[in-house]
């Protein structure tokens, strides 16, 4: 094994088939307490037409088989608990265990959204305090905690803008979106009933303010901006941008996915942003869980407040908190019940642990990103050289010469014991290496990452093949994605897999 690979070794790792392949009639992993009422006969009471026979192919296994199955599967994953996760734009930071603990408390995890509000004051106080903390951090006037994730937050924000403009007589037609934006931005605009106008960044990767002046026509409803941009660069002229929009009656939406660069240092509200979402599963450390759940609260200025989704949290004169289900101008509900409460609990636990110290987290995040940038500048091409905030975006231009692209480098990182960085975007950087270390990485881990990246760059020059065929140390090698999409196999079926299991 390569001497240069300091962070990882290979070790024996259990194989495991699909749970359905372990099934055998009569095995079970769960028992219920005995029925303490007369057994009703479904055939009679329910009617034969409604009655279902046993579910064909449903698993029949024992408890130890279930525990081992998923434990073995888990050992095939990389995770924050195992090491650095430099995924740009994803803010994969430490997920404190105490947050898991409090979210599971009796009286927290056990509460029903329809229980009387006098028996829900604890839940409501949690929501209220989180609202207050997020408003203080963003510098906004009002907030909704309902959206389930960033994308839904984006939609909620655009619907707020739409409702506000409608109230003024004209919802307008277009939303401007920089070409550096995340894919959810344009996808969301469409759902909110807007046409997307993509705007080109200027040569430094910033919004072209001069061009913007012309682009903001009377049928532009809003500009969706990400700040810092997905290049990790702060949009310096954002106050000016806000003015331009406001002058034309349009509003400024900020994608807050990169708040980890700003929390405690500056506030979007002060910068002229009208509405924004936060990704609590990024900036506020709720675990990503292999793809959620998250939460995407939307913070807004006063003018948008009347349009907030219902239910809205209000403080009664009695001091009692209540969720109000109806408001005349509300855009309505974006999700059933009061948001991903369990996620909101974790985010508040995270904020309380830091208090005003969130600023220190932000500083360390920016420190790590700049430290990595400093050491990798020159080794990798840096297409946009303005100062980096919480992340830095390189390109594979130098390695391309040897036929090595960003995906190859990413896969080779796996052999070096790291999760790859983000390769999928920003689209304005062909062959992007989007690196966000977050504040959770020690200097030791950053140094190992830098060493790995340098070593791979060297391999790309001297031995490109080893990079292009990476990873070499994982239990499976590169997978056939084309084949997977051409002839999709999206579920297990009794016959097929039995035979597979056989061969």
């Amino acid at each position: 094994m390569n001497e240069k690979i300091k962070k990882a070794s290979r070790h024996t790792n259990q194989n495991e088939g699909l749970i359905f392949e372990k099934s055998s009639p009569g095995k079970r992993a769960f028992e219920l307490p005995p029925l303490d009422v007369p057994a009703a006969d479904p055939a009679k009471t329910l009617g034969a037409s409604h009655r279902r026979e046993g579910i064909e192919g449903f698993p029949e296994v024992s408890e130890i088989e279930v525990l081992r199955h998923f434990t073995r599967l888990s050992t095939w994953n990389y995770a924050i608990d195992l090491g650095m996760y430099p995924l740009g734009s994803c803010t994969m930071k430490y997920n404190p265990r105490v947050n898991e603990f409090v979210a599971r408390l009796d009286g927290i995890a056990t509460e029903h959204p329809y229980q009387p509000q006098e028996l829900s004051q604890g839940c409501l106080k949690i929501l209220r305090l989180l609202e207050k903390c997020l408003l203080e951090i963003t510098g906004m006037d009002a907030i909704t905690l309902q959206p389930a994730a960033g994308a839904q937050g984006e939609m909620t924000g655009l619907l707020l803008i739409r409702a506000y403009l409608e109230k003024q007589g004209n919802p307008r037609k277009k939303v401007l979106i920089p070409d550096s934006a995340h894919g959810t931005n344009p996808a969301t605009a469409v759902i909110a009933g807007y046409e997307v106008e993509n705007i080109k960044s200027e040569s430094h990767g910033q919004i072209d303010v001069e061009k913007l002046r012309d682009l903001v026509t009377p049928d532009v409803a809003a500009l969706m901006i990400t700040n810092p941009s997905t290049l990790g660069i702060f949009e310096q002229r954002i106050p000016e941008i806000a003015e331009i929009l406001h002058a034309k009656g349009a509003l400024l939406y900020m994608d807050g996915a990169n708040m980890n660069a700003l929390a405690g240092v500056t506030r979007p509200g002060d910068l002229g942003v009208d509405v924004m979402h936060l990704n609590l599963h990024k900036t506020f450390s709720t675990p990503h869980g292999g793809g959620g759940p998250g939460a995407g609260p939307v913070a807004m200025k006063k003018i948008l407040e009347p349009f907030r989704p219902v239910p809205t949290l209000v403080e009664k004169e009695s001091g009692r908190l209540a969720l109000e289900p109806v408001r005349p101008d509300s855009i309505g509900r974006v999700k059933a019940f009061a948001g991903n409460f369990g996620v909101l609990v974790r985010a508040l636990a995270y904020i309380l642990a830091y208090g005003p110290g969130v600023r220190q987290a932000t500083e360390d995040a920016v420190l790590n990103a700049n430290y990595i940038r400093k050491h990798l500048e020159g080794v990798f091409d840096l297409p946009y050289s303005l100062p980096s905030m919480h992340e830095v975006v390189f390109s594979d231009a130098l390695q391309k010469k040897n036929g090595v692209n960003t995906m190859d480098i990413a896969k080779r990182l796996i052999d070096y014991g790291f999760h790859p960085y983000t390769t999928a975007f920003p689209l304005i950087v062909p062959g992007a290496l989007m690196i966000e270390p977050t504040e959770s990485e020690s200097k030791e881990e950053c140094d190992l990452f830098i060493a790995a990246m340098k070593s791979i760059a060297e391999e790309a020059a001297t031995n490109p093949q080893i990079v292009k065929t990476a990873p070499h140390t994982t239990r499976v090698r590169r997978l056939d994605e084309v084949g997977a999409a051409r002839k999709p196999v999206l579920r297990w079926k009794p016959v097929t897999t039995r035979s597979e299991a056989a061969d």
């Binding site: 029949e60 603990f101 028996l119 203080e136 920016v366 297990w492």
Partner: protein, 448 residues
């Protein structure tokens, strides 16, 4: 700060390496006048013990110690500690969306198993990796039908969960969908005549929930047939998944939108849960959300990847089938573990216990003078009773007996004032049912 792995000396050293004099230098691109001078005004920092104490105090202000007869879309079911042990393994809990298949096979195979279980439950051919919840799953199912039919009228049964319908309306407003509601009959089921009347060749989807919001089990065959006759898609939403252990799956549906909360997820004041969309193979390319697919690696071994990504926002941007990105993966994993634990026998037995206990509860309540059954159609674990007085007032009295009474229907259904939706699951003991009946009887005996 305990979460930050740096000593003051290391920070200095790193700044030095960067060539910055101070940390502020790294924030120089933020215009001076916008940089915060004072510390944020938020509570903390709290030690771990203080964080726990804060939430224990809040928990004590909630409903601990009460017996609840609430369902209405969120159900109390037995959960195994095994599920929690699994989803708290860092390798699952703190892993990202499995875009890098070689080091996320665990999550990918689990999603593939989830998709399979959802197909088996719903009688559909394909299911996705999860949606935010049942309400958005139902909404996205309608949007999917819109894409598939190119039509814009949507008929939604009024017996669909009121909040699900509200969410649909929020999304519909700006996608130019016209949503109309189909009433329910005296038996509590969808009024098929009204549906027939409303069905024209401009209908994209007919949306029915079963068991519906009143707990009533809908009969799909006729409804689906009528829908298909008009060229529309028949969309079924399921809010109480445990029913599928006992009740025929909506095989006639073109799209099924299900809420997975009943599969091992705690009520958690309304979330996080896990929605899912299941449908026919032929419709898969219009499906929203992530899909895990089976494939082989360069050495021919079986493996799994996220696939058909050309439907998704990170590839297609404004042309994507949906804007969904982060979904509810860990909740879907919990459901996968939970259903695997239950297995064929366990799920059926759980469903049968719900059914029997609800039957028992109904018979106990009907013994009380003045209590009437509202709908006569078959139901699963929820049913509607009519009370001689305001449900809110009666529930207020029940609280004194540490009982959280049934959900009052009057707000969402003005025509159903004095009606209450009673939910009983396998977690409700006979003694609790009897205590509830006794307390209700006493409450009704009291002079107004």
């Amino acid at each position: 700060m305990r979460y930050l792995p740096k000593s003051p000396a290391e920070r200095k050293e790193m700044l030095g390496a960067i060539g910055a004099k101070s940390i502020d230098e790294l924030f120089s691109s933020i215009p001076e006048r916008f940089r915060l001078r004072e510390a944020l005004n938020i509570p903390g920092p709290y030690s771990e013990a203080e964080v726990i104490q804060y939430f224990k105090e809040r928990a004590a202000e909630n409903s601990n110690g009460y017996t609840s007869f609430l369902g209405a879309g969120v159900y109390n079911h037995l959960r195994s500690v095994v599920t929690d042990a699994i989803i708290q393994r860092g390798e699952f809990l703190t892993s990202y969306t499995p875009y890098q298949a070689e080091i996320t096979q665990g999550t990918l195979q689990a999603i593939f198993e989830f998709q399979t279980l959802m197909c088996q439950l719903t009688g559909q051919e394909v299911a996705n990796a999860s949606m935010y919840d049942g309400s958005t799953a139902m909404t996205e199912a309608v949007l999917m039908a819109e894409r598939l039919t190119g039509r814009r009228r949507v008929l939604v049964a009024r017996s669909v969960h009121p909040e699900y319908r509200e969410v649909l309306k929020t999304y519909a407003k700006n996608s130019g969908l016209h949503v109309e509601e189909i009433p329910f009959t005296a038996s509590g089921a969808v009024d098929s005549k009204a549906l027939q009347a409303a069905l024209k060749d401009d209908v994209a989807a007919v949306v029915v929930q079963s068991p519906n919001f009143f707990g009533v089990i809908e009969t799909h065959a006729a409804l689906a047939e009528a829908t298909h006759a008009s060229g529309g898609m028949y969309v079924v939403t399921v809010a109480e998944g445990v029913s599928l252990g006992l009740v025929r799956p909506p095989a006639e549906a073109d799209i099924v939108a299900m809420e997975g909360q009943s599969f091992g997820l705690p009520p958690s004041y309304g979330g996080p849960f896990a929605g899912v969309i299941a449908s026919r193979d032929k419709f898969v390319r219009q499906m929203p959300g992530r899909l895990a697919g089976q494939t082989v690696d360069s050495e021919g071994q079986r493996g799994f990847v996220l696939t058909l990504a050309t439907r998704e926002q990170h590839i297609r941007r404004e042309k994507a089938t949906s804007n969904i990105c982060t979904n509810q993966a860990l909740c879907a994993l919990a459901a996968t573990v939970h259903l695997t634990l239950l297995g064929k026998e366990g799920l059926r037995e759980m469903a049968e216990q719900n059914f029997s206990k609800a039957q028992f509860a109904l018979s106990e309540l009907l013994k009380i003078p003045g209590v009437k059954r509202t709908f006569d159609a078959p139901f699963f674990n929820e049913f509607v009773v009519e009370l001689p007085r305001s449900v809110k007032l009666i529930n207020a009295q029940l609280l004194r007996d540490k009982i959280i009474g049934p959900h009052a229907l009057g707000t969402a259904y003005p025509e159903l004032t004095k009606r209450a939706l009673v939910c009983v699951t396998e977690t409700t003991s006979r003694a609790e049912i009897e205590r509830f009946a006794g307390a209700l009887k006493r409450a009704l005996e009291q002079p107004v």
